[in-house]
Symmetry: C2
Amino acid sequence: MSFYDQLKFDANGLIPAIVQDASTKRVLMMAWMNRASLEMTLKTGKTHFWSRSRQKFWMKGETSGHTQTVKDVAFDCDGDTLLIQVDQIGAACHEGYQSCFYRSVEMPGSTFKTTEERLESPEQIYAKK
Amino acid sequence: MSFYDQLKFDANGLIPAIVQDASTKRVLMMAWMNRASLEMTLKTGKTHFWSRSRQKFWMKGETSGHTQTVKDVAFDCDGDTLLIQVDQIGAACHEGYQSCFYRSVEMPGSTFKTTEERLESPEQIYAKK
């Protein structure tokens, strides 16, 4: 049975994909895939997504060079979320942090703090090309 | 500045929350929160969500006893996804697996395999109360 039969894409044909570093287990980012980007991800071994804001198909790292090589693609009990293990080149976050989740709430309370060092500035990342 | 000002809830007032085991770093599940469930999560230290299918506020483990104690709440660069570190009691998945992501694609190809042992049957989990 194809795993595609287990998946539920939403009303816009999208499914959220959590991306995790295969080695460190750090959760790097969450982005959305449509069926075409998932197929391309499996075919090429590099993560591809659908940008809801830009309404555009994109390969992670196509501009920055910070590509993700896929090691495992898992899906959840409800079939409505993907979990993808990757080898990440460089910073996953376009802000230059290893992970997009570089800020945490200071509990108790509702202020927040930055929990990671910035690896590169966005200018450094996007000046490469 | 409150971290709530950094968050973007979607058109339905919801934000996806990735839940990760604080010790093993296994990604356990993904569920949705509205502002009230996020506030209750921070207030009580136990994860609360909004069920889209049941249109209902719920505390994880309220029936199964498999509660999640919050260790950290992070949010991503776009402010549209949460990452919550927890101490998980028992199986996180209502199917009795440690993680909801207990199935992976067999690459290359599109068949899939189960990658975890089932800890309990759903009948065992929900017969507790």
